[in-house]
C-alpha cells in the first residue's frame, strides 16, 4: 500500500522518477536534508540506479543485510558504490550530472558546519570518512587522513561502470573482503519494555497502535495501522458501557456532539420512520459540530471538545504543511470537473444579433432598431446537481484523520470552484446513536471540513437512511451521494431479536452488509445517485461491491480519495446529460 507523502517527499520522489525515466514505482530511498531541502543529485542517482540496474537487484542487495546491526553503515557504503557505478553509466547521457555531483560535494562540506554535536555523534565514523573521501576527490581536494584499511576501502568503493550482472556480486564480494558483511545478517539483541501510565500515553502517540472500538467518545491519534488487518471489534467492552445507564446516553451524545440540527418533533418523527426493523432501539442525531471546551456541559464532554479542537488544529497544520501539493490537486481536479461540466452542459437559447431568425421579434428591428431578432444557443454553466460527501468518521479512520480532512477539503473546494453545491458530513455511531455531523453545509466555507475527527462505530445502513432524509431539501434536483467507506459496517448496538434474526445478533458482517446494500438500492430508487470510494482490506472488497455495485472506486491510499471521487463525479456528470 502506498503511504501518504508530504509535498517535499512527493517532489523528491519525482526527482527519482525523473532520473529513472520510470514513474509510479516505490524507490528504495529518498534523499532529503534534515532541514527539508532536497538532494537533486542523490535522488537523480537513486533513479539512475533503477534505470541501469533494475528494481529487483538493488532491493535484493539491501535485503541481504536488512536487520543486521550494521545495516546503516552497510546501506551507506553500498550507496557510495552504487553512486559511483550509476554516475559513470549515466554521465554520457546526462553531462550535467558532473556539475550536480560537484555541487552536492560542496554542499556536503558546507553542511558540516551546521551539524549539532548530537548529529556528529550519530554519524558512523567509517561511513563519514568514506563519504568525505569521495566528495573531496570529486572537488579535487586532498583526501582526509585515513588508515590503510580505509584507504583501500575508499578506493574499492570507486566502482567502474559495471553491468547489471557484475555490480551486486562485486559489492557483496567487496563487503566480504573488508570484513563488513559475510552474507549472514546478525540482528542486534532485542529489548522489550512494558510501559504504563503517562509513558504509555506518550508512546501510543509516537508508535503504531491498534485501534479498538469502544462506546466512549474519544478523539485519538494513531500513528499508523495495518490496513489489511483492520480495526478489531471489541463488543464486550461496548456492552459493558451499554448496560451502565441507557437513559443518560442522549445527554452524553448531546454534550459530546452538540445540539441537534432538527427540532425535537422532527427528529422523533424521523426516528420513528427509520429506526425500525434491525435498527429498532437505535437513535439518530443530526448535528453541525462539537461544542467548544467552554460550552461543554461536563468534564467528559470538555475533554472530547479539547481533543476535537486539537485534532482540528492537527488537520489544519497538516494541510498547511503540504498546501502547495494540495492546491495543485485542487487546481487539477477543478480543471477536470469544469471541463467535464462544460462538455456535458445543457444548451439554452438567448436573443442575439445573429443566429436563427426569431420571426416574433422581427418587428423590434424595424420599430425599435433592436438588432437582436435572432436566437442563439449558448451553454448553461449551471451544473444542475448537488454532491453530498459522507466521510466515515469511525475509529477505524483514526490513523488518517488529517489526510481524510485534507482530501475532503480538496474535493469540496474543487466542486465549489466549479459552482457545484457540496455538503460534507462525517458519520459514526455511539451508544446506539447514529450521528451525522454536517461539517460543511451548502455554501459554507470548505475549511470547516477540518473539524473532522474519528470516533466510535459505523452503522452504514442507518446512516444511508439518515442521509436520505437530509437529501430531501437540496438546492438542485439531481443529487449525488458519495461515501468514503471501508465496507465494514459494525455497531455496538445489536440487531434486536425478531424477523430474520429470532435471537438477535451483532450488527456486523453479512447482515450489516445486506442492510447497507438494501439502503443503497432504496436511495437509488428515490433518484439519488449513490457512489462510494472504498478504502479497506481486500477481505472487504466483495462487501463493497455488494453494497455499491458498479459505482465504486477503490483506492489504496487515502491520498487518492479526491481524485477517485472526482472520477465518480465525472462519470455521474456524463450520466446526468
Amino acid at each position: 500500500m502506498s503511504a501518504h507523502r508530504t509535498a517535499g517527499q512527493r517532489r523528491a520522489l519525482n526527482q527519482v522518477w525523473n532520473g529513472a525515466g520510470i514513474y509510479g514505482y516505490e524507490p528504495l530511498f529518498l534523499s532529503m536534508n534534515a532541514d527539508g531541502t532536497l538532494n537533486l543529485y542523490l535522488n537523480t542517482i537513486v533513479g539512475c540506479v533503477r534505470k541501469w540496474y533494475g528494481e529487483e537487484g538493488p532491493s535484493r542487495l539491501f535485503e541481504a543485510w536488512a536487520g543486521d546491526r550494521r545495516q546503516t553503515l552497510l546501506d551507506d557504503l553500498a550507496w557510495l558504490a552504487l553512486e559511483s557505478a550509476a554516475f559513470q553509466r549515466e554521465l554520457p547521457h546526462r553531462p550535467i550530472l558532473a556539475d550536480l555531483r560537484r555541487a552536492y560535494a560542496a554542499d556536503f562540506f558546507d553542511r558540516e558546519h551546521t551539524l549539532s554535536r548530537q548529529e556528529w555523534m550519530a554519524k558512523n565514523q567509517l561511513s563519514y570518512t568514506m563519504q568525505s573521501a569521495r566528495w573531496k576527490a570529486v572537488l579535487g581536494r586532498r583526501p582526509p587522513v585515513m588508515t590503510p584499511y580505509e584507504k583501500r576501502l575508499s578506493a574499492a568503493l570507486e566502482l567502474g561502470p559495471l553491468g547489471e550482472r557484475e555490480l551486486f556480486s562485486a559489492i557483496l564480494e567487496l563487503f566480504a573482503r573488508f570484513r563488513l558483511f559475510d552474507g549472514r545478517s546478525r540482528p542486534p539483541p532485542v529489548l522489550r519494555f512494558h510501559l504504563t501510565g503517562k509513558w504509555a500515553g506518550v508512546m501510543t502517540r509516537l508508535m503504531p497502535t491498534e485501534i479498538v472500538h469502544t462506546d466512549v467518545a474519544s478523539v485519538g491519534h494513531g500513528a499508523g495501522v495495518d490496513e489489511e488487518s483492520g480495526p478489531r471489534l471489541d463488543t464486550r467492552r461496548a456492552k459493558i458501557r451499554l448496560k451502565e445507564n441507557v437513559s443518560s446516553d442522549r445527554k452524553y451524545i448531546e454534550s459530546c456532539f452538540g445540539p441537534s440540527l432538527l427540532p425535537e418533533r422532527e427528529l422523533t418523527a424521523i426516528e420513528q420512520k427509520l429506526c425500525t426493523g434491525i435498527h429498532l432501539g437505535c437513535h439518530l442525531w443530526y448535528t453541525a459540530g462539537v461544542p467548544t471546551p467552554e460550552q461543554a456541559p461536563n468534564g467528559e464532554a470538555r475533554r472530547l471538545a479539547q481533543q476535537a479542537q486539537l485534532q482540528q488544529e492537527r488537520n489544519r497544520a497538516a494541510f498547511g504543511a503540504d498546501s502547495a501539493l494540495y492546491q495543485n490537486a485542487i487546481r487539477s481536479l477543478t480543471e477536470q470537473i469544469q471541463n467535464c461540466l462544460q462538455v456535458h452542459s445543457q444548451a439554452e437559447e438567448e436573443n442575439a444579433r445573429y443566429g436563427r431568425l426569431n420571426s416574433r421579434r422581427v418587428w423590434r428591428a424595424v420599430v425599435l432598431s433592436d438588432q437582436r431578432v435572432f436566437t442563439r444557443r449558448t451553454d448553461s454553466s449551471r451544473p444542475g446537481f448537488t454532491v453530498d460527501l459522507l466521510l466515515d468518521a469511525s475509529s477505524s479512520r483514526m490513523h488518517c484523520q488529517e489526510i481524510i480532512a485534507a482530501q475532503g477539503y480538496i474535493l469540496a473546494e474543487s466542486l465549489a470552484r466549479c459552482g457545484v453545491p457540496v455538503r460534507v458530513s462525517g458519520f459514526c455511531s455511539l451508544r446506539g446513536y447514529t450521528i451525522l455531523r454536517v461539517l460543511k453545509g451548502f455554501g459554507e466555507n470548505s475549511r470547516n471540513i477540518f473539524r473532522y475527527f474519528a470516533t466510535g462505530w459505523n452503522r452504514d445502513g442507518l446512516v444511508l437512511q439518515a442521509a436520505g432524509e437530509l437529501l430531501d431539501s437540496p438546492p438542485e434536483q439531481k443529487r449525488l451521494l458519495l461515501l468514503l467507506t471501508d465496507a465494514s459496517p459494525n455497531d455496538s448496538h445489536r440487531i434486536p431479536p425478531g424477523g430474520k434474526y429470532p435471537f438477535g445478533r451483532d450488527y456486523a458482517d453479512a447482515p450489516a452488509v445486506e442492510d447497507a446494500a438494501r439502503e443503497v438500492r432504496a436511495l437509488r430508487r428515490r433518484g439519488v445517485r449513490v457512489g462510494a470510494v472504498f478504502m479497506g482490506p481486500n477481505l472487504n472488497a466483495p462487501a463493497a461491491e455488494t453494497i455499491y455495485g458498479q459505482s465504486l472506486a477503490r483506492i489504496r491510499s487515502i491520498d487518492q480519495l479526491a481524485s477517485a471521487a472526482g472520477r465518480l463525479i465525472r462519470a455521474e456528470i456524463q450520466e446526468l446529460e
Binding site: 517532489r11 509510479g24 487539477s332 471541463n339 443566429g355 451553454d379
Partner: protein
C-alpha cells in the same frame, strides 16, 4: 514543401500524385494557403496522410499533446497547395458556427457563410481542430459533407456541392478529461492516423533545422528535456500545459537572443502553468538536464 518531402524520403509515386493534384486544382485564395513555420517530420505518417488525401478521403489525426497534429494538418494543406480554414472546436460550437448563419444587414436577413461553407466553395482544406470537444448535434451537419454525397445542405438555402479538391482534416486528443468519444457515424467518415510521439531523431532534426547554431551536446539535452517532461506528464505528475514543443523552440529563440537558459526555459515552458508546486517539479527536470545560467556564447557556435 515538395523538396522537403523528397528529403523526407516520401515515395516518388505519392509525390507524383501530389504534383498531379496541384496541376489539376490550380491555387485559389493564395493568402489562405498556409506557409508553415514548422515541418512535420515522419516519413510513414506523411505517406499515409498524402495517400489518404489523394484518394479523396478525410483524415482524422488522433494523438496526445505535442504529437504534431496541427503541424501536419497545416503542412498537408501547404503540400497540396490548397487554402485552409482552421476551425477550433469548443463546447459551445453549433452547426451555424460551421456552416454559416443568418444576419441582419441593410434591412434584410442575409446568409453569412461559415468556414465549412467557404471551404466547400473554394475546394479548401478544412482543419477541424479538437473535433471531439463539440457536441454531437453540432457535428451532424457535417455528415453529408464528409461522406460520398459531398454536399452541404444549408437549412433554408441551397444545397452546396463540394468543390472536388475539398478535404477535411480533423484532429482530436483521446482521453483528455471531459472530452467525449467521437460518435460512430462521424468516425466512420474519416480514415484515422494515430499520431506517434515525435521520435528522438526527428526532434533532433527539428531542433537542428530551427537552431542550426546550437551546439550538438546541448541540442541533445534539450531534446531529452522534452521527453523527460513528456514522461512526467504521462505519469500524471504535471499537467499537459508545460509539455509544449513550441514553448521549447521559443525558449531556444530567447537563448539565441541573449536570455540565459534558466529564465528562457521558464518563459517558454515553466510559466505555462501558474501552479508553484508544478513549477518546482518542472524546474527539477530542467536542473537535471541543463545548467540554468548557460549563456548564448556557451550554447551556440559563434
Amino acid at each position: 514543401m515538395l523538396s522537403f518531402l523528397k528529403e523526407e524520403g516520401v515515395s516518388p509515386e505519392l509525390l507524383e500524385g501530389l504534383e498531379w493534384f496541384r496541376r489539376d486544382h490550380p491555387a485559389e485564395l493564395p493568402e489562405r494557403v498556409p506557409a508553415p513555420q514548422f515541418h512535420y517530420y515522419g516519413r510513414e505518417v506523411w505517406e499515409q496522410a498524402v495517400a489518404a488525401l489523394l484518394c479523396g478521403k478525410n483524415l482524422l489525426l488522433t494523438g496526445g499533446k505535442a504529437t504534431g497534429k496541427n503541424v501536419l494538418a497545416e503542412n498537408l494543406a501547404a503540400a497540396f497547395g490548397r487554402p485552409a480554414w482552421n476551425v477550433s472546436f469548443h463546447v459551445n460550437l453549433d452547426a451555424s458556427g460551421l456552416v454559416g448563419m443568418d444576419t441582419f444587414a441593410d434591412g434584410q436577413v442575409q446568409f453569412r457563410p461559415g468556414p465549412i461553407c467557404r471551404c466547400a466553395q473554394h475546394g479548401g482544406f478544412g482543419i477541424l481542430d479538437e473535433i471531439n470537444m463539440a457536441k454531437n448535434e453540432a457535428l451532424a451537419v457535417l455528415h453529408a459533407a464528409l461522406d460520398f454525397r459531398r454536399v452541404l445542405d444549408i437549412p433554408g438555402y441551397d444545397r452546396l456541392s463540394m468543390a472536388p479538391a475539398t478535404r477535411f482534416i480533423a484532429t482530436m486528443n483521446y482521453g483528455y478529461a471531459g472530452t467525449r468519444e467521437l460518435n460512430e457515424a462521424l468516425a466512420s467518415r474519416f480514415v484515422v492516423i494515430q499520431m506517434p510521439t515525435i521520435s528522438p531523431e526527428n526532434l533532433d532534426r527539428l531542433l537542428e533545422r530551427r537552431c542550426p547554431a546550437l551546439k550538438k551536446k546541448y541540442r541533445q539535452q534539450f531534446g531529452q528535456l522534452f521527453f523527460d517532461l513528456q514522461k512526467k506528464c504521462e505519469g500524471g505528475e504535471i499537467s499537459t500545459k508545460p509539455l509544449d514543443l513550441r514553448g521549447l523552440l521559443d525558449a531556444l529563440d530567447l537563448m539565441a537572443a541573449g536570455v540565459p537558459s534558466g529564465p528562457a526555459l521558464d518563459m517558454g515552458i515553466t510559466n505555462k502553468t501558474s501552479d508553484s508546486y508544478e513549477q518546482g517539479l518542472i524546474r527539477d527536470v530542467m536542473a537535471a538536464r541543463i545548467f540554468p545560467r548557460l549563456t548564448r556564447g556557451e550554447l551556440f557556435e559563434p
